[in-house]
């Protein structure tokens, strides 16, 4: 059997395409749990803020800290189970920095900026992080982030208390539905 250079190049190209698609699918399944956890935490955060509105300044940093700790735990567990898997730590750190940036500015601006704006700022920043991650990890993240931002923008026009309920449903819903979809479309092992 002889293979000419063009055929060899085409075969290597096919291999590269399948490898990229497989890594994308692996990343989808790996991110699924993280999205669902964040969705549940955001829903819990909104629920607690509804019950104890004066404690919002404690509730949301606690939600963010719990989410970051849970994300780190999930990544560590996955790393232990699949040590060979390649991870781009720069991307993970970039997303953590973006989340910290949003949390700090929310804390500082919270008392002075109109409330509807604050309801949109942190979630849209979070969705922006998902879009940016999608540039490396796969198209689905970009679509999920864009849908999230569009729904937040629509909710921004609602009066209180609909605004809060809309934001709670949209943010936690986008994350949970996105997480379930990621789990279904990823490579389950």
């Amino acid at each position: 059997m002889t293979i000419d250079p063009n055929e060899a190049a085409a075969s290597l190209q096919d291999i590269a395409t399948i490898e990229r698609r497989t890594h994308e699918a692996l990343c989808y399944s790996g991110s699924s749990t993280i999205f669902i956890v964040w969705g549940a935490l955001v829903a819990g955060g909104y629920g607690l803020t509804e019950l104890y509105p004066r404690s919002a300044m404690i509730i949301w940093p606690a939600v963010t800290a719990t989410g970051c700790a849970a994300t780190a735990l999930i990544i560590a567990m996955r790393r232990r189970a699949r040590p060979q898997e390649v991870r781009d730590w720069r991307l993970i750190w970039a997303l953590a920095l973006l989340a910290a940036f949003g949390a700090i500015w929310s804390y500082l601006l919270g008392p002075v900026v109109p409330r509807p704006l604050m309801y949109s700022f942190q979630p849209t920043l979070f969705m922006l992080g998902i879009i940016l991650a999608g540039l490396w990890l796969g198209r689905f993240f970009v679509v999920l982030g864009l849908v999230g931002i569009a729904l937040i923008a629509i909710g921004h026009l609602q009066p209180e208390p609909w605004l809060r309920w809309w934001m709670a449903a949209v943010q936690s819903g986008t994350l949970i539905v996105g997480g379930v979809w990621l789990g279904r479309s990823g490579v389950s092992r």
């Binding site: 059997m1 293979i3 060899a8 075969s11 399948i18 490898e19 699949r82 479309s185 092992r189």
Partner: protein, 100 residues
């Protein structure tokens, strides 16, 4: 220069081996339906090529029941991993020698 691996070089089998190789771990298996979606293959086509690769000892097919549903899982054998690496090296050598 080692020769081409005729079993692996067929287009669909090359894709199957590339996907299984990318999953990386020796003990890692992938569900038949996930592999089918990943490769854009049909049931019959994928099944036939998996059988060829299994006969060559390059992959292992595991059949089991999960929640009373039959499930077929596929993983690469150590021999398959070696053969795939050698074939990829051979393809690279062809391109390198053509460019020299």
């Amino acid at each position: 220069m080692s020769g081409a691996n005729e079993i692996i070089h067929q287009a669909m089998r090359l894709k199957i081996m590339a996907a299984l190789n990318a999953i990386s771990s020796k003990k890692t298996a992938i569900e038949f339906t996930r592999l089918k979606a990943l490769l854009g293959a049909t049931d019959g086509n994928l099944g036939a090529h998996l059988e060829t690769l299994e006969k060559a000892g390059y992959i292992v097919i595991e059949k089991r029941f999960e929640e009373r549903k039959p499930q077929t899982r596929v993983r690469m054998s150590p021999a398959g991993r070696r053969a795939f690496a050698e074939h990829v090296a051979y393809l690279r050598e062809i391109i390198d020698s053509a460019g020299a």
